[in-house]
């Protein structure tokens, strides 16, 4: 790694910090709705069939909700070359936190709730696939850093975080689509299920190829 970030450096770090703050605030608002623990609140209001018929659904759902906020928090510091250079301990600590939470909690629970997702088969395939790819990319990132293959590690982790970031992009697409077209809720859900993560992945693949060809 030549110390240069993949993210255009002319954009001020303050801009990225404010972006992070806004998104983190939005996601935190969603998370705090589930505190204290309640079986009939927010998204769970339209999931009572699963909550009542599948005993494991509620605990796994809560694992996903409570763990995922740490994924975002840990992930945001990881792509700054300055932090990596000056505070490698922060990078290592947050990196460990990120992979432990993703591999043990967020990704497996995500795959499970993906099986029972709203929006029918199309949405379910998308969410399960998203969860499996997320697990796989994160695992490859861990493996490559064990072997000290730094560019490879960076690429896998970029892919992994692009999928983690779908938590935000999916909800942003939803707001945009509903603002302009006002479709029925499940029609939009089937669209955002795919739109939430595919463009993210294409975007980082573009960054990676651009970097490789330099």
């Amino acid at each position: 790694m030549n110390g240069k970030s993949l993210i255009p450096s002319q954009i001020s770090p303050w801009f990225w910090l404010s972006v992070f703050t806004v998104f983190f605030y939005l996601m935190m608002r969603i998370t705090v709705q589930y505190i204290p623990f309640d079986a009939d609140v927010a998204f769970l209001r339209i999931k009572q069939t699963e909550v009542k018929s599948l005993r494991e659904y509620l605990p796994i759902f809560y694992v996903h909700v409570y763990s995922s906020i740490f994924v975002l928090l840990a992930g945001f510091t990881q792509f700054s070359p300055k932090i990596l250079k000056r505070f490698p301990k922060i990078h290592r600590f947050n990196g460990r936190l990120y992979v432990y939470v993703v591999l043990l909690l967020s990704a497996p629970s995500g795959i499970y709730i993906g099986f029972h997702a709203n929006g029918g088969l199309a949405a379910q395939i998308s969410f399960v696939l998203l969860g499996m790819l997320w697990f796989w990319f994160t695992w490859k990132g861990v493996e490559s850093i064990w072997k000290r293959k730094i560019p490879e590690h960076r690429n896998w982790m970029l892919r992994s975080f692009a999928l983690a970031f779908s938590a935000i992009t999916l909800r942003l697409w939803k707001v945009l689509i509903i603002y302009f077209f006002e479709p029925n809720p499940m029609d939009v859900y089937q669209i955002i299920a795919w739109l939430g993560w595919i463009p993210n992945l294409l975007f980082v693949e573009y960054l990676i190829t651009k970097k490789r060809n330099k």
Binding site: V22, A42, R45, P185
Partner: protein
């Protein structure tokens, strides 16, 4: 890229801010069904409310007899006004009129247009009998033909539906005109102000209000016949969910406070408004509970950042 991000941020921020103060306004859209009481309506006009049908004989030609029906939905004591749905030979419209009461006899007169002429139809209600009068000769008040109306009896049937007729809630437009802040105008030069005024006028002239409307997803769902499943409601918008609830009450002859709902349901012959206090079945009660849960979710999440 930077601009795009700022745009996304702005939209996200706006959508969040909107969530804060929308809670109360959204509730106003629906009828207040929180109390489903068991007591029957005790209005003095209870015997007059509802649907009536009769045959107006033609003086010249028996083939031209007209079937006429009135569904009386509201009598306003204070202003002495009356609202009904009037159907002649299958063509129905909302009719507005005045009424007066003397010695237990209610006299009503409805104004309407027919054959490009303003017309008046008089009705009387005495001892439980409703009579309609029509002038024998067009444009003359006397003599008149009299017609005794028969009451369409209310009968509860959980299987009646609204078919594929969309409901548009004309009483609750979604977008409200925004007033421009006077501060902004004051700072601009005189010429510019004129231009700005013209701009505002232009814009105001083209404000197109939009109304909540049911969607195709609601067709075929009956909330009275059987217990609804969650999966049946997932794709419904808030307007659909409210509409399903209102249809339950319409089947029981509920007289809606909203004219938009009264106008809508009187197009169906099965709707016989009888009371403003109705009792629903156990199945319907459970469905109302489920529908309310989905409605609340739709209110809180449909257009905002979240799922």
């Amino acid at each position: 890229m930077k601009k795009l991000m700022s745009l996304l941020l702005a939209i996200a921020a706006i959508s969040c801010a909107r969530k804060e103060n929308d809670g109360q306004k959204l509730l106003a859209l629906n009828e207040d069904f929180t109390e489903v009481t068991i007591a029957k309506n005790e209005s003095p006009y209870a015997t007059l409310y509802g649907a009536w049908t009769g045959k107006l004989a033609s003086a010249y030609n028996a083939d031209k007899d007209q079937t006429i029906s009135y569904t009386i939905t509201r009598l306003d004591d204070k202003h002495h006004t009356i609202t009904a749905n009037r159907t002649i030979d299958g063509e129905s419209e909302t009719a507005y009129g005045k009424f007066s009461e003397k010695d237990g006899k209610i006299s009503m007169s409805f104004d309407f247009w027919a054959d490009k002429m303003p017309q008046v139809q008089k009705l009387t209600f005495e001892n439980g009998v409703l009579k309609a009068f029509a002038p024998l000769k067009r444009g003359h008040l006397d003599p008149v033909i009299e017609c005794t109306m028969q009451r369409s009896e209310f009968k509860y049937d959980p299987l009646v539906t609204t078919d594929s007729a969309y409901f548009v809630d004309f009483e609750n437009p979604k977008k409200v005109e925004k007033k421009l802040k006077p501060k902004k105008v004051a700072k601009v030069e005189k010429k510019a102000v004129d231009k700005l005024d013209a701009d505002i006028k232009f814009k105001e002239g083209y404000v197109r209000p939009s109304y909540p409307m049911t969607t195709e997803a609601v067709f075929g769902i009956n909330a009275s016949a059987k217990l609804l499943k969650e999966s049946e409601l997932k794709n419904l918008k808030k307007s659909d969910l409210q509409f399903l609830k209102n249809t339950i009450y319409a089947r029981h002859g509920y007289i809606f406070k909203s004219d938009a709902l009264n106008d809508y349901f009187t197009q169906f012959s099965w709707y016989v408004p009888t009371s403003s206090n109705v009792e629903v079945t156990e199945i319907e009660q459970k469905n109302v509970k489920l529908l309310t849960r989905y409605e609340k979710y739709a209110e809180e999440y449909y257009e905002y950042f979240g799922r």
